[in-house]
């Protein structure tokens, strides 16, 4: 049980911003085109063991989503080393990579195929997924006709039912009604308790995080400023929010004085 499934070594992610589309097209063939750099993740190192449940806190733009995208293999690091082992299932955004023109059922199969699951295995999981998502006859309608709540439910149902080894949840639990939220929490707990599933959980809600996670990380402006047990992490996160509020307040007073 001591093996490491996710390892980050000095990982940095820089987004290149060009003045416009034209400059970006030119840059494909000419590397001297001017651009500004935006540091999204700055020299972050950590490792996660199999079966761990980690919460990641941080304000908008702190680099949490970029971090998760690098773990899923969607986005690539600019520098540093990333090692991830096992089937990653990510609830990155509400739509979770659905094809809007295909029906819900077709999307279940497509997603399964992309994850490398055989059709027979998907057929087995299909009923469970549809029941869990509770979208009933809508399952054979194109996903573009779904409400955002339905999309989120289907996304959660698929990702949590395809037997992931690493489950990544990014704010996905903040949608849906109270009942569905409760169902999700139960499902996540069930997955974690099953041996070997690793959970990464991004949220602003410290109480929900505390339900699943034993470890917490706090990010601020691309830096990992805290990594430790969940209670201390929540404390550090609150402290950071207070600090930022103080800074914002003093800035406001300063500009008001100036006027």
């Amino acid at each position: 049980m001591d093996d490491i499934v996710i390892e980050f070594k000095d990982v940095t992610k820089v987004y290149k911003l060009y003045k416009n589309d034209k400059a970006r097209l030119k840059a494909v063939f000419n590397k001297n085109i001017k651009h500004t750099k935006k540091m999204a993740v700055n020299k972050v190192s950590f490792s996660v063991k199999r079966g761990e449940a980690v919460a990641i806190f941080g304000k908008n733009g702190a680099g949490k989503s970029t971090l998760l995208k690098m773990i899923t293999g969607v986005t690539f690091s600019t520098e540093g080393e990333i090692r991830v082992e096992g089937r990653v299932s990510a609830l990155l955004e509400l739509t979770a990579g659905f094809d809007p023109e295909l029906t819900g059922r077709e999307n279940i199969y497509l997603k399964g195929q992309i994850m490398g699951i055989s059709d027979e295995e998907i057929a087995e999981l299909e009923k469970g997924i549809i029941d869990f998502a509770a979208i009933e006859e809508y399952i054979d309608q194109p996903v573009r006709t779904y409400s955002s709540g339905m999309k989120a439910r289907l996304g959660f149902a698929i990702n949590s039912n395809i037997r992931p080894e690493i489950l990544i949840i990014d704010e996905a639990l903040s949608v849906g009604d109270v009942n569905f939220k409760k169902k999700c929490v139960e499902k996540v707990n069930e997955i974690i308790e099953r041996e070997g599933v690793t959970l990464l959980f991004v949220t602003h809600s410290t109480s929900v995080a505390k339900e699943f996670c034993s470890r917490g990380m706090v990010m601020r402006q691309g830096n990992l400023i805290f990594d430790g047990d969940i209670d201390s992490a929540i404390e550090r996160y609150r402290q950071m929010l207070d600090e930022d509020r103080e800074i914002a307040k003093s800035k406001k007073i300063f500009t008001e004085k100036k006027q």
């Binding site: 955004e93 295909l102 195929q113």
Partner: protein
Amino acid sequence: MEGQSIIKEHIQWRRQIRKLARADLIKTYSGAALGWAWAVIRPAITIFVYWFAFGMGLREKAGIEGWPFILWLMAGIISWFYIRDMLNSGTMAMRTYKHLITKMKFPVSTIPTFVSLANFTVHLVLVLMVIIIFILFGYWPTLYYLQLPFYMLLMFIFATAWGLFGSVLAAMSKDFANLIKTLTMAFFWLSGIMFPVSEIDIWWAQLIFKLNPITYIVEGYRNCFIHQVWFWEEPAALAVYLAEMLIMILLAVYVYNKMRRDLPDVL
């Protein structure tokens, strides 16, 4: 230059490529009431309009190269429908399927390939219909039809390489996507689809037509249906086409390898 990773992705994901091509077809055609019929209606109307405008007006009843104009036109234009689809939906492939790039881990280089496969499936159906129409006109298949797969393969490889090249650039820049849309018309008229290239008197104009790879494919299809010429009887044209295809592949690999890591960030 590395093309291995692209080839590896294609081999590893061959099953998914097939499934995604199927899904792409279903998506394009099953939503509308007439559904699959659109795959045939659209080209049929295009052929009818060109036949009406050029066959009735300009070429009257004399025919062309000894063939009824409608058959001559069909034999050539059939490949254009696939090429046009690759210039449009092929170039937009990465943008259309951006959810595969930005929301999950996916072998991105296979996206233009399955879009191309989907378009090619429609092409196969159209070729079959053209063969049937030729039979209805009393022209039975000849031995020369056997080289159709050869020209299809050449066209498929070129167009799919274009798809990779064009769709990466179109993802980087909307200008590029618009440029290609605008140029589609030029590609059409600067190929030998509407008139025999050999009838052009000005030597440099004829050269431009002959350097257009689309002309080679169009003429190739006519070699099978109309001219009854084997592909090895035109070695110079074949060599030029193969050289252009190689350049296209190298460009596609270069651009893809260069931009692969940036794609999820710009889409």
